[in-house]
Amino acid sequence: MAEVKRVERPLSPHLQIYRPQMTSVSSILTRITGNALIVGVILAVWWLLAAATSPAYFNVANAVATSWFGDLVFTGSLWAVWYHYLAGLRHLLWDTGRGMDIETAEKLGWACVIGSVVLTLITIILV
């Protein structure tokens, strides 16, 4: 095993030539939403820190948090958190060995996309 022969192997089909599928797109969206949520968290924690610091500082942070920019970040984060939430539940289901066949996995993908939009709208209306 000392000599490792390098063999010319064919490359597996790459992302760029793969037709986007519900399973792959819903999976990468889980990663994007999860990581992007840090933006909303930082804005929220900064707003909290400002509230604990002084009225003047709170006015600055609150103006940002309730501006069009703040609305954009928090509304986006709201959808992202609901999407990531449903996708996480999907992973918990998969961990039990259920729902792994393609047909069910695709349905679950649509459930995440549609469900997250519905939950976002419900949250905006109720809260």
């Binding site: 820190l49 509230a51 009225p55 309730t66």
Partner: protein, 133 residues
């Protein structure tokens, strides 16, 4: 004849060298967050847009304060390990190490800032309460 047990021969052979610890942490913290996050969205959504007095009144109460602390601590550890997974998928070498350290640093900083803010808001709320009487 080898005097090693099958387990000893297998340990440390996986790509992570830590077995399934990472996966199990993500699973366990995701279940915790599944309970915490919807409640937090309600509390935070109600507090956002209120004047300072309302924000202090909200976060100086035990339930919103403890809930927020839990969401930030569990959420930021879940984030750090998730970000680490992404970084390890796409980068190598020193860049990978640097980015993982950065993700961990951001996560711990956010936790520390949030806990400081919550502690101070609780104290301010307590002082308001004391002055009112």
């Amino acid at each position: 004849m080898r005097y090693l047990t099958a387990r000893k021969r297998a340990e440390g052979k996986g790509a992570s060298h830590t077995g399934t610890d990472h996966h199990w942490y993500m699973t366990a913290s995701s279940v915790a967050l599944a309970f915490l996050v919807p409640t937090f969205i309600y509390v935070f959504g109600r507090a956002l847009g209120q004047p300072l007095e309302g924000v202090i009144a909200t976060f100086s109460r035990p339930f919103p304060a403890i809930l927020t602390a839990l969401v930030v601590i569990v959420g930021m550890r879940h984030f750090a390990k998730g970000a680490q997974m992404m970084i390890e998928d796409y980068t190598q070498g020193s860049l990978r190490k640097g980015l993982v350290i950065l993700a961990y640093s951001i996560s711990y900083t956010v936790i520390a800032v949030a806990l400081y803010a919550l502690a101070k808001l609780t104290l301010i709320g307590f002082l308001f309460e004391a002055m009112a009487h």
